[in-house]
């Protein structure tokens, strides 16, 4: 009894310490956003003079910088935004489609060459894609896909990490379910479409977020393919506003905030499925 009491006290102290530590980590995670938002309200000249501060000065703070995004270089920021959004949607839809069917094929069926193909998937996952940039670039020139969104998404059409994830996910699904559907006269494709897709929804949630993240953040390959200013994505465009001759803080900071907002909304809407999906498809060696 007494021992339990001591144990309980010890646990309370540990719990407070652990929670306190997590609060510190949370502050570390959130502080850059606070800086970003506070700076986006102030004129760029204030940034030049005082640097990055959390100080709120009602005299100079306003949302003027946000409306200035519409006029900066004829509203080019929204062109970047549109490019980023189009690429994100295209890349995510195609990636989910191909990733899920290949992952399903590898996870459900036993066939000759299955292990070889899965090994190739693993090898490709461990290859730095960057080393293939030069020949890919030449291929895109030959295929006349420079300055096109298709050219940007081609290397991400069949994402190996999604194949891997969907395969792991399918391994955990009882095959009796699929057998039953097959006996009912469903073709293999109908089984995938009608039975598997609904079961795999958590996996799709998780992969949607990962794919959106990757696409929204991608810099190097889109920078090589999209050379037309108006087709730039947000990361490329924001990069061009930082120059050795002075930075356009008036654009950078509200632009940064606006770039974060949509993806955080997608995440907050899908986060339950996301965490559940990632957990269910956990890496099983």
């Amino acid at each position: 009894m007494a021992r339990n009491k001591i144990e309980g006290k010890k646990r309370t102290v540990l719990s407070i310490l652990a929670t306190g530590l997590m609060v510190l980590v949370a502050i570390f995670a959130m502080v850059p956003f606070a800086f970003m938002f506070m700076s986006s309200l102030k004129p760029g000249t204030d940034m030049m003079r005082y640097g990055l501060t959390l100080r709120f000065d009602p005299e100079i703070s306003s949302f003027n910088n946000y409306t200035a995004l519409n006029t900066y270089r004829d509203g080019i920021y929204w062109h970047w935004y549109k490019s980023s959004a189009i690429i994100m949607v295209m890349q995510t839809v195609t990636g989910l489609f191909f990733g899920s069917i290949v992952g399903y094929g590898l996870g459900i069926y036993r066939f000759k060459g299955r292990n070889l193909i899965f090994t190739l998937v693993l090898i490709v996952m461990m290859l730095p894609f960057e080393i293939l940039l030069l020949p890919m670039y030449q291929m895109m020139i030959k295929a006349k896909l420079m300055n096109t969104y298709i050219g940007v998404i081609i290397p991400y059409l069949v994402p190996p990490f999604m194949i891997f994830f969907f395969r792991q996910y399918c391994l955990g699904i009882p095959t009796e379910l699929l057998e039953a559907a097959r006996i009912d006269g469903c073709s293999d494709y109908a089984v995938f479409w009608r039975i598997m897709l609904p079961i795999m929804i958590p996996a799709f949630g998780a992969m949607t977020i990962l794919s959106c993240m990757n696409s929204w953040n991608n810099l190097l390959w889109p920078m090589i393919i999209l050379q037309d200013n108006k087709m730039h994505t947000i990361p490329i465009g924001m990069g061009t506003t930082i120059t050795p001759y002075g930075n356009a803080y008036d654009v950078l900071m509200p632009g940064a905030v606006m770039a974060v907002v949509p993806i955080v909304i997608i995440y907050l809407c899908a986060q339950k499925t996301f965490i559940a999906g990632l957990t269910a498809g956990s890496v099983k060696g």
């Binding site: 030069l134 995440y267 890496v283």
Partner: protein
């Protein structure tokens, strides 16, 4: 009812019989990857190898130069880039394996109040573009005395640091940016592994009188080993092929090449100086580096040992 639908299925199946042949079906499912592998990975890889032994004077105008492209890599810039990437990869693996693991264990332990809130919150930095977030880090770690971090240091009487002008402090900022951006992703990976460990293993350890630290080393670590191997492998890859983080802090062409990585060097040689042969040689060096380091890591972790 069931019979008629089966008959329907058969007659429909007749028309595309080979597509419904059980021997063909799996290959239809995996076909996209096979095509993709050949076109987007194998062909460019073969081309990279070929280009690394040639001087490319123009489209279709190749000149076989044996190993000259590889000897041409021996420049101060290349070795500096290799050092930058190597140093970054080392710290990246150390910090981004251990810190998220400890946080995930705490979140999983049940000690933390509101752990699901923290789980969601820790992931948010991963959603942002590194270029965008990098702007904040760049300004916070500015050179001037008025830069945010230097001002904080001044409170403790520490001299202002020119963070981004030198390699070691620069690498520290890079690692902080990486930790900020990827911490949440690795926490989620680890949590998925931790949840897969059966509770009775902990109970058994408890009965044997194991303390928290013993439990961590004898139950938790072996339990999450597959996840750990996965995290280390992708971190090694991400570390050596890092590019975006360095652009976020220094742009592509900074004086002196502080912070320029192997991929940054490859980009400069290939796209800015248009020397495709040497750039291919740099790329292959990176590939060999990643593969060798990862193989060593996987052997040390016992990945190739067959489980009994």
């Amino acid at each position: 009812m069931r019979k008629s639908s089966a008959v329907n299925q058969l007659s429909r199946g007749d028309r595309r019989l080979w597509l419904n042949n059980p021997k063909v079906v799996p290959y239809v499912f995996v076909a996209p990857f096979i095509i993709f592998f050949l076109l987007v990975y194998l062909y460019p890889l073969v081309m990279t190898v070929a280009m690394s032994f040639n001087k490319i004077n123009g489209p279709g105008n190749w000149e076989f130069v044996k190993f000259k492209n590889y000897t041409k890599m021996d420049t101060r810039d290349f070795w500096m880039a290799l050092k930058t990437s190597g140093r970054y990869a080392l710290w990246d693996v150390i910090v981004l394996t251990i810190v998220p693991l400890l946080i995930a264990c705490l979140l999983h332990s049940g000690l933390v109040k509101g752990s699901s809130f923290f789980k969601s919150l820790f992931f948010i930095p991963s959603l942002t573009s590194i270029i965008v977030a990098g702007i904040v880090f760049r300004l916070a770690f500015g050179t001037l005395e008025t830069a945010t971090v230097n001002r904080v240091l001044a409170v403790f009487g520490i001299e202002p640091v020119k963070w981004l002008s030198y390699e070691i402090p620069g690498n520290t900022v890079l690692i902080l940016l990486t930790l900020w951006r990827w911490n949440g992703v690795n926490i989620v990976y680890y949590l998925s592994g931790l949840q897969a460990i059966p509770a009775d293993q902990y109970e058994a350890a408890q009965i044997d009188g194991a303390n928290a630290i013993q439990k961590f080393f004898h139950v938790t670590l072996p339990g999450i080993k597959p996840v750990l191997i996965y995290v280390i492998t992708i971190t090694v890859l991400g570390g050596f092929s890092m590019f975006t983080e360095s652009v976020a802090l220094w742009q592509q062409n900074n004086a002196g090449g502080v912070g320029r990585t192997i991929v940054g060097y490859m980009y400069m040689v290939g796209f800015k100086k248009n020397n495709l042969g040497v750039a291919s040689a740099v790329g292959l060096t990176l590939l060999v580096l990643v593969v060798v380091v990862n193989l060593i890591q996987l052997i040390l972790m016992g990945f190739f040992k067959k489980e009994d």
